[in-house]
């Protein structure tokens, strides 16, 4: 894994975009920030073979594992940075609810860490359930599907939930044989 300080700025910026600190006393050490993350999508994806479905789920799992690892490293780096600064919680509850959104302007570093911990909590079951789907994939392969069947994988919040088997649905394979002239 790439150390936090060496990751791409777009994904992980070591310099937080805070207002400049006043030039008094000891300089505050930079605290990393995390950007991006996984878009947990819902939708249906069409495949012409079960092998392709499996490869797609494997791709999802790899992405979730990577994001999970990234979030874990971020939280660890936040802990280290806050410990080095000797920062203490200013307030047990520094969040204010504005409509449906919680706002924290009192302690942004701790606020970010709390949010990242929540993301991590969300990510773990996502990894576990996608792993489970992949582990049990051999049972899906036992489904007696005709050779011309197509498969529609239904994703709900990033999780593969349903598989629809459509018989006589596979499209013709593309082929072209033709002659042209250069002009």
């Amino acid at each position: 894994m790439i150390p936090l300080s060496k990751q791409k700025p777009a994904a992980l910026s070591p310099e937080p975009k805070h207002a400049p600190e006043p030039e008094t006393g000891e300089k505050k050490k930079p605290v990393p920030t995390i950007q991006g993350g996984v878009r947990m999508v819902s939708g249906m994806v069409w495949f012409s073979s079960l092998a392709d479905v499996k490869a797609y789920i494997q791709g999802l799992l790899d992405m979730y594992r990577f994001e999970n690892e990234k979030a874990t490293e971020f939280v660890a780096a936040m802990y280290r940075a806050l410990a080095e600064q000797g920062s203490h919680a200013k307030n047990a509850n520094s969040w204010t609810k504005v409509g449906s959104i919680l706002v924290n302007s009192d302690d942004p570093d701790r606020g970010k860490m709390e949010a990242a911990l929540q993301l991590l909590t969300d990510m773990k079951p996502l990894v576990a359930r996608t792993e489970e789907a992949l582990t049990n994939f051999t049972r899906l392969e036992d489904i007696s599907a005709r050779p011309d069947s197509a498969f529609v994988l239904c994703l709900r919040y990033g999780l593969p939930e349903r598989l629809i088997v459509e018989e006589n649905a596979r499209t013709e394979k593309f082929s072209l044989t033709d002659e042209y002239v250069t002009v």
Binding site: W46, V152, F174, E179, Y180, V181, T182
Partner: protein
């Protein structure tokens, strides 16, 4: 209205159609000692394409381009694959033949991207250079 095959989440599809051409074989043959780079000639292009792999948001095709100089003084061959990435409709648009004598867009794109190589190859063989711009289907009835 046809029933759509699926409803793909936006995150799995790309914002721009991606076309990646990878070559596997390039061959140039000078068929006649009398071949002259300045000779008046035209090139006939035989295209053969077949589906190699299709996954959501991506279609990979094998292709062979056979350029034969008329009269037959040279033959240039390019074999490779082209990967088309994008939404299903966008990929379908690339492989659909155009109106009248226009080839599918994917053929034009492959020719466009390999033209530089064909030009150098023909120049090295001292045979007439293939024309770069348009690629029109031969009108057999003409």
């Amino acid at each position: 209205m046809p029933v759509p095959k699926s409803y793909e989440p936006t995150a799995v599809s790309r914002a721009v159609v991606e076309v990646v051409v990878a070559l596997e074989k390039v061959e140039g043959v000078r068929l006649s000692d009398k071949a002259d780079a300045d000779a008046k000639s035209e090139y006939k292009l035989a295209v053969s394409m077949s589906e190699k792999k299709r996954v959501p948001g991506e279609l990979t095709l094998n292709f062979t381009l056979d350029l034969t100089c008329q009269p037959q003084i040279a033959k240039l061959t390019i074999v490779g694959t082209v990967r088309l990435g994008g939404q299903e409709e966008e990929v379908a648009e690339l492989i659909t033949p155009g109106e009248e004598r226009t080839p599918p867009k994917v053929v034009e794109l492959i020719y466009e991207r390999t033209y530089g190589l064909l030009y150098v190859l023909a120049g090295g063989l001292k045979v007439p250079l293939p024309k770069p711009n348009l690629l029109k289907k031969r009108n057999m009835s003409a």
